[in-house]
């Protein structure tokens, strides 16, 4: 399953502070959409609104509409916990649960929610998710070992396995490779390309080569100055954004003239 995400003049606030202003865009299913832009422009804030994770910070709120296959994510009777079960997330720093084995980490989406499953079912889900995250061959002999014993790149793929194990519709990745070496980064990038076969993938990145390598659509965000809200400057097909952008700001940023 993968879903189309539609943002309609979305504003994100932290208390009274407007962090991201008036974003309207459509994120296509079965594609990779990259968010690029300088630090502080609100890319991470915006990606966190897609699964209502920004609400974890007290005082954070959203105005406007966010539709997932036409369903309002911020509707009055929507439970944020149920949204997050359908929209998985991978963070900047790998964060496997230190008290759990590799297998339990993969199954944590089920186990932490007290869902019961048979042993065979658990093994099937574990293998499928680890294969999907290109980690199965490296860890199949040590599934009962703690996840924190893996290398940084392996830990990040474990976190991706954990996210896809619950079979979400959308996968959000917030700078998933910024803490990793180039080889692990390449592994994660290959994985992202495979994931778009089944999921809607949104990735925040500071690495413009990465955005141009793997994404189908690219959204460029910018900020006019500190204290001012971040804005969506340009959103188009990746080739267009990187080779022939409409806006001068985008051109400056992707050609490395600022930011």
């Amino acid at each position: 399953m993968s879903k189309r995400i539609e943002l309609k003049s979305l504003d994100v606030y932290y208390k009274a502070f407007l962090a991201v202003e008036d974003v309207s865009m459509v994120i296509e299913p079965k594609a990779i959409t990259a968010f690029i832009g300088p630090s502080g422009c609100g890319k991470s804030t915006l990606i966190r609104t897609l699964n209502r994770m920004h609400e974890v910070i007290p005082g954070a709120r959203v105005e406007g509409q966010l539709l997932m296959d036409g369903e309002d994510v911020y509707g009055p009777d929507v439970d944020p916990v149920r949204v997050r079960r359908q929209v998985g997330m991978v963070f900047q720093r790998p964060n496997p649960f230190p008290t759990m084995s590799i297998k339990d980490n993969v199954l944590s989406g089920y186990k932490l929610n007290n869902s019961r499953m048979s042993k065979a079912e658990a093994e099937e889900i574990t293998e499928k998710a680890l294969v999907g995250a290109n980690l199965w061959n490296e860890v199949k002999d040590r599934l009962e070992k703690p996840g924190s014993g893996l290398s940084g790149g392996q830990q990040q793929r474990l976190c991706i396995a954990r996210a896809i194990a619950v079979e979400p519709d959308v996968i959000l990745m917030d700078e998933p490779t910024s803490a990793l070496d180039p080889i692990s980064t390449a592994a994660i990038e290959d994985l992202a390309v495979e994931l778009k076969e089944h999921f809607t993938v949104v990735i925040v990145t500071h690495n413009m080569q990465q955005a141009s390598r793997i994404s189908d659509m690219t959204a460029f965000f910018n900020i006019a100055g500190s204290g001012l809200p971040g804005k969506l400057i340009e959103y188009d097909k990746t080739e267009k954004v990187f080779s022939n952008p409409t806006e001068q700001q985008t051109e400056d940023y992707v050609s490395g003239r600022f930011g």
Partner: protein, 354 residues
């Protein structure tokens, strides 16, 4: 040779490794010899070890500093001086501890026998008797206090770290700080006053002692748990939230297991802290020579109170009472040691591996 000396990283020569310890031994022996000499001249056979230590240490420090300054230079001489000062401070801090352990063990072994652990003091005058009633009382009262304090303490800490915001949380934190400083006798008086309301004046009850101890324990448990919950990385909570795990399950299944080892250690330390309390138990649990297994009825002996009463109300065979007091003190110390050991084992086996 000259090329080596020209290298800018090469400093002056180092003192040989054996010099400093042999100087130390030498100066202490010299200082001791001087004292023996002085003592033989002044007809007093006693040798006082305190001036020996002071004189030996001062002369050793001075000698090493001067030698080091001449051979090694100013910076290393300073380093040696400070090393001596820090080591001396450490030794000074250790002396009372070792002396205490030594005294309690040597005086406690006299009555550290089977009878001590199998008999109460009922109908015992003079020799014999034991502290079984006090050991049982201590275990029951401290156990009940732990049962009361641990759930309250852990849940209060969870509230403070995971849920509490604004004025209420600040107030709770403030009162926890105040409670940490409540004198134990006040806790005893409070428990007594509380039980007088229900059972009338002159009430004595083991449960009252447990209440008084839990008043002292709760703030310690809250503080320890709070610190442990705070060091659980926020990324783990976010990881759980992002998987669609509700907050209460995140706390229960991610935050608590991650900090379990630290919390268990904190609880053990809190128990060790209150198990030796005397004053509140004297007030509300009272003292008795008889066995009492029922914390809801009548007086109950505890080890610290046993030590106190054995020493304070000595009978005809004075030495028997004093010996029992020391044996009680030794038992209490061993219990605290075992608790600390258990805490270390828990933190070793439960802490996240990786």
């Amino acid at each position: 040779m000259t090329t080596q000396l020209n290298s800018s990283f090469r400093g002056t020569q180092d003192l040989p490794k054996w010099l400093s310890p042999s100087l130390l031994v030498g100066f202490f022996l010299a200082s001791f010899g001087l004292q023996v000499l002085l003592a033989s001249n002044s007809d007093s056979a006693d040798i006082n070890f305190i001036p020996v230590a002071i004189f030996g240490l001062l002369s050793f420090t001075l000698a090493l500093y001067v030698i080091s300054r001449v051979i090694e230079g100013v910076r290393k001489a300073k380093d040696r001086l400070v090393t001596i000062m820090v080591s001396t401070a450490f030794s000074l801090a250790l002396i009372p501890l070792l002396s205490l352990a030594y005294t309690v063990v040597t005086k406690g072994v006299a009555r550290f026998d089977a009878e001590f652990f199998t008999f109460s003091m009922r109908n015992v005058v003079g020799e014999g008797g034991g502290a079984l009633h006090a050991i049982i009382g201590t275990i029951e009262i401290t156990g009940i206090a732990t049962l009361i304090s641990v759930p309250i303490g852990i849940m209060a800490a969870i509230y403070l770290v995971e849920y509490g915001r604004g004025t209420v949380a600040r107030l709770v934190t403030f009162f926890v700080d105040v409670m940490t400083g409540v004198p134990s006798i006040v806790a005893g008086l409070f428990a007594y006053a509380l039980f007088v309301i229900f059972f009338g004046p002159g009430v004595r009850m083991g449960l009252g002692g447990a209440i008084a101890l839990s008043l002292l324990m709760i703030p310690v448990v809250i503080r320890a748990t709070e610190e442990m919950l705070k060091i659980v990385p926020n990324e783990l909570r976010e990881a759980a939230y992002a998987l669609g795990v509700p907050k209460w399950l995140t706390v229960l299944k991610v935050v608590l297991p991650t900090s379990l080892a630290g919390i268990a250690t904190g609880i053990m330390i809190a128990i060790a802290r209150v198990i030796g309390e005397t004053a509140p138990l004297l007030l509300i649990a009272g003292f008795t020579a008889s066995m009492n297994y029922n914390p809801l009825n009548e007086r109950m002996m505890t080890l610290p109170v046993f030590v106190y009463t054995s020493y304070a109300n000595q009978g005809v065979d004075m030495q028997a009472y004093v010996d029992r007091a020391w044996a009680g003190a030794l038992t209490l110390m061993l219990i605290v040691m075992v608790l600390n050991l258990v805490a270390r084992l828990i933190s070793k086996y439960f802490s996240p591996k990786g």
